[in-house]
Symmetry: C2
Subunit: 451 residues, 2 copies
């Protein structure tokens, strides 16, 4: 396995189990560039916020634990070349070049954060104070940066990491400006993105949409401001790069493994990308179940599931990865208010692009029975096909308890159910948990009545 | 409509909308025995607890609001007879007997709380201090009872209302003894019921299983103790009757409308129970989607959905009620700890009785990522058919955030999905909301691996 995070280590352990079940011997080598394995990248903003005490807490299984299970784990080992004909991998470790042979190769190289040219010095290094949020080393660097006198932060990017870092930096007492190329949370429809933007603004974030950074100013190599495409200069002690990620597929591409439009590998249901070569996790594109098209969704939960499938397949297993729905969730918590954000399936734009005759409705309702303490407003948007009545997507923005409701919608999409199914199904009700028609069902029912 | 709570008023409003859509005139008369309409019976324990300030808060729509919508609502009007041949209803109001004609009749008479003989005086009244928890009048009586010097409560019944009242009475500072005929929360498997019993005991409830009351002692007509089948005498200032409900079908039965094993009406998908007679809500049995058999599930969410279907059907609509899964949720919150309790589909016992070759596994996991503040333990039990791999049921007991996960399982059951679907589907993940494999999916995956 090349890569020792979620996908690679899931594949390694799954392969061990599959080999054992098949009565075969498995010799599994994992090459990992960093010194860390099996960590939660998604947890890093909460470490930076101070909610999680240490980067070690984010490590699900340590190197020692993997080795004790029988995995030959090589850390600080950077793969530099793959030869799929000779079946060899070349890697650098301790300033030495090694070549090892494989019977089967698993590419689990993850994704790279997007780093624009303006973030780098002429020599190619990151400007001091400017950094992405991707791996544990990044997390450690951020805790160092914030231990100093930094007071002003600019976050570039208004997606998941952008708003999670806005929460983290507000918690750390910084003033925060968030720049986004288009709108906040563009993976949701604009009306729901607007609600999130409002929550950011109410918490004191200076949100600037339809803009980005053209250049930085710096003093003694450390950032002092970001100059935007609007010509504004925003003072900054630190700049968060939250512009998304791209699949880390250089190794495979150089070896002739095909990639897709998003430059991710294109595994089949079992993870195969070429003879004796497999891929899993953020370096892959996945099949979107609502369109049948490939989509790039970098998320730990898929990486784990795909790694498990691949490890199993290496020893003849028949498990499969059955695609993604684009389900996602996060929150923005600041100033005593929590805004939960979730989506699954197609957005309105995606549904139109996929050729659906789209019916869509956003409905405001309550997280729990209105008379209960803690009842908060939530907005549920339901997207369906007007002709077939198929449910296409759901989006939620609301107070505590709103977000995880998305799972019932995701299950309905997984089963290719209709908007009527979502309205009628037997969801749970009790006053501390829901209104008598659950928010999801009020929203689905109202849309169903209109089509 | 006979009955002006969830089912009856939903039917009334649905009928108004359907008539309007059909360009027809609707004259809708609702007869309601009490002085209240459209109230949340499920909210009464939280009113008794003091979490909800007033019974008025539990009223979703007042009599005036219904009348303003064009409904001829007659309160304190007790229907005494139905003649399905003459199509008349006789009722008593203001000590006068009235008879009205109908074109279509909707029976929405709800359910009666079970009141054992020992709870009554020789004259047939309830012993003072002894009361069920069913309608707003009961709620008002409980707030009066608890305004006095009552210190010791006995709750008879260990189901949903029993544990909700245990929470309420602990909140009010009473000492609580809970007696249950078999185990606590018998609608869950015994191992999960055990977890709930433990939570009750840890909060200071004196839980006595496999017992019930044989008689009461009283002084000056007010209860002073309950004597159990074990011969124990438990001192009590108040006794809560939480022994469940039975369908209130006397009117229909007397008029020849058929009832089922549980003595509930047997509506078809549109709610029809006899020519020109319809029924909705707690007076009905519903089809259980997992067995195809009739089941009696008294729950406001079904009452609302059924009422809507019936109202629509009265004016030619084609909506249908597609059955129940037995989804239910509640909580027990006391002493700073919250235990959420949820179930859907068949329990192990129900699955065996229905002839399945049952595979079952309970898995302990975490409500959110283990390193996040607020992570709590939850136990998820998954029940599947070993031969077909069909998902049959899920049960959850755990900390805040655990319970509402049941909805994703309910959606999977609604779509007749497999245990593999539940393990593989694209559920939402972020550290403040879930582990990287959601608790539901860990549990489903582990069971799937064993069958």
């Amino acid at each position: 396995m090349i890569g020792g995070d979620a996908a690679g280590m899931s594949a390694a352990h799954s392969a061990l189990r599959a080999a054992k079940a098949a009565g075969r011997e498995a010799r599994i080598v994992v090459l990992e560039t960093t010194g860390d394995t099996s960590y939660s990248a998604c947890g890093i903003p909460y470490w930076i916020a101070g909610e999680v005490a240490s980067g070690d807490d984010l490590v699900a299984r340590t190197a020692d634990e993997h080795r004790a299970a029988g995995i030959d784990l090589r850390l600080h080992a950077r793969a530099t070349a793959v030869d799929t004909t000779a079946r060899t991998v070349t890697y650098r470790q301790d300033e030495t070049t090694h070549t090892i042979e494989y019977d089967e190769l698993v590419l689990a190289t993850g994704a790279h954060p997007v780093v624009p040219a303006w973030a780098r010095t002429p020599a190619g290094a990151l400007v001091a104070g400017v950094h992405p949020v991707k791996n544990l080393d990044d997390g450690a660097l951020w805790t160092e940066l914030l231990a100093g006198p930094a007071r002003r932060a600019v976050i570039v990017g208004g997606g998941y990491i952008g708003i999670e870092m806005a929460e983290a930096l507000l918690h750390r007492g910084l003033s925060v400006t968030l720049l986004t190329r288009s709108r906040v949370m563009g993976s949701l429809d604009p009306d729901l993105g607007e609600l999130i933007e409002r929550a950011l603004v109410e918490a004191g974030v200076d949100v600037r949409t339809d803009t980005t950074v053209t250049r930085l100013t710096s003093v003694d190599g450390a950032v002092t401001s970001a100059v935007t495409t609007d010509g504004d200069e925003v003072e900054a002690d630190v700049v968060v790069l939250a512009l998304g990620v791209v699949p880390a597929t250089e190794l495979g591409e150089a070896a002739g493994v095909p990639v897709g439009i998003a430059r991710g590998y294109l595994p089949d249901d079992q993870g195969r990308v070429a003879p004796h070569v497999w891929a899993a996790g953020d370096c892959c594109e996945s099949q979107h179940r609502m369109t049948g098209e490939r989509d790039f969704v970098a998320l730990g939960t898929h990486a784990n599931k795909q790694g498990r499938v691949v490890g199993d397949a290496l020893f003849g297993g028949s498990r499969a990865f059955h695609g993604v729905l684009g389900t996602a969730i996060t929150r923005f918590a600041a100033g005593g208010r929590v805004t939960e954000i979730a989506r699954t399936g197609l957005s309105t734009r995606q549904a139109v692009d996929a050729g659906h005759d789209v019916a869509v409705l956003a409905t405001e309702s309550s997280t729990v029975s209105g008379y209960m303490p803690g009842a908060e407003t939530m907005v549920t948007k339901v997207i369906a096909d007007r002709r077939t009545r198929a449910l296409l997507g759901v989006q939620i923005v609301g107070g505590p308890g709103a977000g995880k409701r998305i799972d019932a919608a995701a299950a309905a999409l997984w089963g290719r159910m209709s908007v009527d199914d979502l309205a009628e199904m037997d969801l749970s009700y009790a006053p501390p948990f829901a209104t008598v028609w659950d928010a999801l069902q009020i929203a689905a029912r109202r849309l169903a009545e209109r089509i």
